[in-house]
Symmetry: C2
Subunit: 358 residues, 2 copies
């Protein structure tokens, strides 16, 4: 030490005194565990989450390291909410509508049939009051939420029966979860719950007549074109499936301000990046499905869509009667959506019409 | 020092040895100057940039501080590119099409008439090769670019003459810059260049017959509804005006990896946040323009839009003949846009039709 003092003198001493508190800051190396609702290596979904964890680590210079576990590795996929809520892990990634049993209104934070597309959802989340409502919904569970990814408009699904009128939905056995499934029920169909891994075989064996999955990219990878006759659009039931990051509130509050901001900003960046990746992959996969696999891509008849929209409104109103918090969020969402519709009509919709008309 | 050693012993010594390099890291406090092309307090644009600077400061715990100067404060707005390129300042914010005189192909990095909307632009930038092309264009100028904001589909503009046929554009004096202006010329109109602050008076005095500006939110603030008869849509000339962050390459390379990642991720987050803010403000302002100011909002006739689209293709082909790099980027852009159109047709466009049909 004396030798050190001789060499560095007063400046060395100052460096030491300054260095120690800095050292203690730099030492608060935070280690988080993260669970997701996605299978290992699930393209875009799980891959995006792993990119997020890596970015947080680089940005924080290793001070916040997030170890990512895919669904089923540490806890079952659908226990992600509970695991983060109870503090078993500090952070999770999934989709809010998986927790509809606990928080019915959470469905608005993912997507609802005939709801807003990604553009409107993000405007609502960040600058229209949506995110504040989300925090309010999750606060009782000790959770903080961040929008973190979006699939864009999904596809209507793969069908082994033609859908020409609303009557064709009568008796239709379709893998379709959540509110979309409730709407199908109203139309006389039978919604079936199946995990991703079970869909292909069920469709092949005729256990189901139809299934929705994600979009061209994921649907191609699941090989659904080999076992279904028609590929219907649009995905009226999931027009903008928003994904979520959830953080345990105590873990969140224990973070210093810089690490909090790193997580918040990285989540926002992930939100855009995943959406862009879905879009870029979907547009390439759609071309391939058509050119390489000669898939029959067809539109639901307007009459069918109009009826599904009517049944959706009925369904949402019924849900609102059952749950005060669903009602509150529905009203806020619906008011924003009305203005968003009016604006879309003269911006994106009018432009896209001008762009594509012959 | 001996006393220190007695008190803290070997752990103190280790802390010292560990602390000194950490201290030197923590001391590389980077101070950047940033210039923008926007007026002081310009809503969303300049405000968003200032939010970005603040977020970077918090994320880096003060290690990277960016002092933001609005256009004209340090250098004139349209010298932003040169100031960052020459290293007068380290970072800037603006829109790539302002540099069309130097880099004609840069226009594809902002928007082109009848180009892609924000969704397609972001898919192209981040996952379709667009950003790599952008870096290639700016590399000779010692610049690195990041997409950083998007206005969404702009409005067609404010007109004191009705536009019923393409002949109504003959002799029309309109404030419309860039490629949109070239297309207007082809239709027999006269594009006029005016800064934002000059538009209102020019329209009032009849020096111009029409002007485009941004969208409902900014147009309302400029008071254009008081001096123009008709508000036309859609903004065929700017369907998704992407904004840019540009960083001096030497300043960029001098940053440690964590600060580089902080800038990159914060720019991506800003890209989404500004777009969401534009959308949320525009949908509210549109309602106000209609309800409070009884603005006559009307659509360009389909025939006019079809002709403008034809003239746009002519214009882009002519520009491609003049500049090899424009041609290269145009070809990449156009190929991506074709797939994007096909995907949009069955996703967003089909969904929005289903959502809004009566």
């Amino acid at each position: 030490m004396l030798k050190f003092f001789k060499s560095y003198g007063i400046y060395g001493l100052m460096a030491l005194l300054l260095g120690l508190p800095l050292l203690s800051v730099a030492q608060d190396n935070v280690r988080w565990k993260m669970v997701t609702t996605w299978p290992p290596n699930f393209p875009v979904f799980q891959e995006g989450v792993e990119r997020f964890a890596k970015e947080v680590e680089v940005m924080s210079n290793g001070r916040l390291r997030i170890q990512v576990f895919p669904g089923g590795k540490l806890v079952p996929p659908l226990q992600t909410f509970d695991a983060v809520s109870q503090g078993t892990v500090q952070i999770g990634h999934g989709a809010a509508y998986y927790w509809a049993g606990k928080v019915p209104a959470a469905q608005f934070m993912t997507t609802v049939p005939f709801g807003m597309t990604a553009k409107g959802m993000n405007a609502w989340f960040y600058h229209g009051g949506g995110l504040a409502l989300w925090d309010e919904l999750y606060q009782p569970f000790g959770l903080k939420a961040f929008p973190a990814g979006n699939t864009g408009v999904q596809m209507g699904g793969w069908f082994n029966k033609e859908i020409n009128t609303i009557a064709d939905l009568q008796g239709l056995k379709m893998r379709i979860p959540g509110l979309g499934g409730k709407v199908l029920s109203k139309a006389g169909g039978t919604p079936v719950l199946l995990a991703g891994g079970e869909i292909y075989t069920a469709l092949e064996r005729g256990t189901i007549d139809a299934t929705e999955w994600v979009g061209p990219y994921h649907d191609e990878r699941l090989g659904l074109y080999r076992t279904a006759k028609h590929y219907y659009y649009p995905g009226w039931h999931e027009p903008a499936t928003a994904l979520e990051l959830i953080v345990n509130l105590k873990a969140w509050e224990a973070l210093p301000a810089d690490l909090q901001k790193i997580v918040e900003v990285a989540a926002r960046a992930l939100n855009l990046d995943m959406y862009a990746e879905f879009e870029a992959n979907n547009l390439r996969a759609l071309r391939e499905l058509r050119e390489k696999y000669k898939v029959d891509v067809r539109e639901f008849p307007a009459e069918v869509l109009a009826e599904l929209r009517r049944l959706t409104e009925e369904t949402l109103n019924e849900e609102a009667e059952k749950d005060a918090s669903f009602k509150k969020v529905y009203e806020a969402y619906r008011a924003f959506q009305a203005d968003n519709d009016a604006w879309n009509a003269i911006s994106e919709n009018a432009y896209n019409r001008a762009r594509t008309q012959e």
